[in-house]
Symmetry: C2
Subunit: 115 residues, 2 copies
DNA sequence: CGATTGGTTAAGCATACCCTTAAGTATCAC
DNA sequence: GTGATACTTAAGGGTATGCTTAACCAATCG
């Protein structure tokens, strides 16, 4: 759990590029070799490889080479961590709104009694 | 809904920085003026302002100036969109694993009959 | 009023990011 | 072995990012 902030840095950064998100989308439908991931992208193969490197460094993708083909798979556990971070902030915000609502309601009741 | 990819670019990019996430965390507990957001950060005020600009451009934060103080609030709707994108990919992946499990199970049953 | 507080703009700079082309390695097909 | 396939590495370049300091409003305070 050491320095999970840097982990989140890498994960969100990895997701902040359309080419890398396209790769993640493709991989969410199942494992794929590098060339399959690169083919739809409007860039050279080395460029696609670099994106893949970013995804792997972020822990979003794992890959294994067999023969001359490297097969990539999605690692959803790290995806979950990014999701959880966002969710926790959103929930915190909603709780706060709830508490605010309760408070306003209590003021209203006070007003009923006072008035 | 035009060009929502660029929206996701901006959102994930905005979240990919610890200073900006710290601001979001602070704002999830309620609105705050610029100086409150900047104070805990290890950087100059103009630097913090630039981060705030990134968060606003991403639609994650709204702000309004009254007198000489600008009050910032979290906009969770855009936060939800980032969350949803991640969730959809993760769910797709899990469905695929489920289907794969079903398939393997059916093979097993075939095996039982064949054996 | 003049000083302070809270924010903003401008300019500059080091580094990181994303892409390219060129060249190299390792497998597989014949 | 020769050629094609599937990556991989290396080098370089344009642009974006993240920070700095200095200077500049505009509300408030005394």
């Amino acid at each position: 759990m050491l320095n999970q902030s840097a982990d989140l840095d890498r994960m969100f950064h990895a997701l902040a590029d359309p080419a890398r998100r396209a790769m993640v989308e493709r991989l969410s439908r199942g494992p794929a070799p590098v060339s399959d991931l690169a083919r739809p992208l409007p860039m050279s193969l080395p460029a696609a490889m670099q994106h893949l490197g970013v995804l792997e460094a972020a822990g979003l993708v794992r890959s294994e080479k067999v023969g001359r083909v490297r097969t990539c798979t999605l690692d959803t556990s790290s995806l979950s961590r990014a999701e959880r971070w966002i969710n926790e902030r959103r929930i915190e915000w909603e709780h706060r709104l709830d508490r605010l609502g309760e408070y306003l309601k209590s003021l209203e009741s006070e007003g009923d009694r006072d008035d």
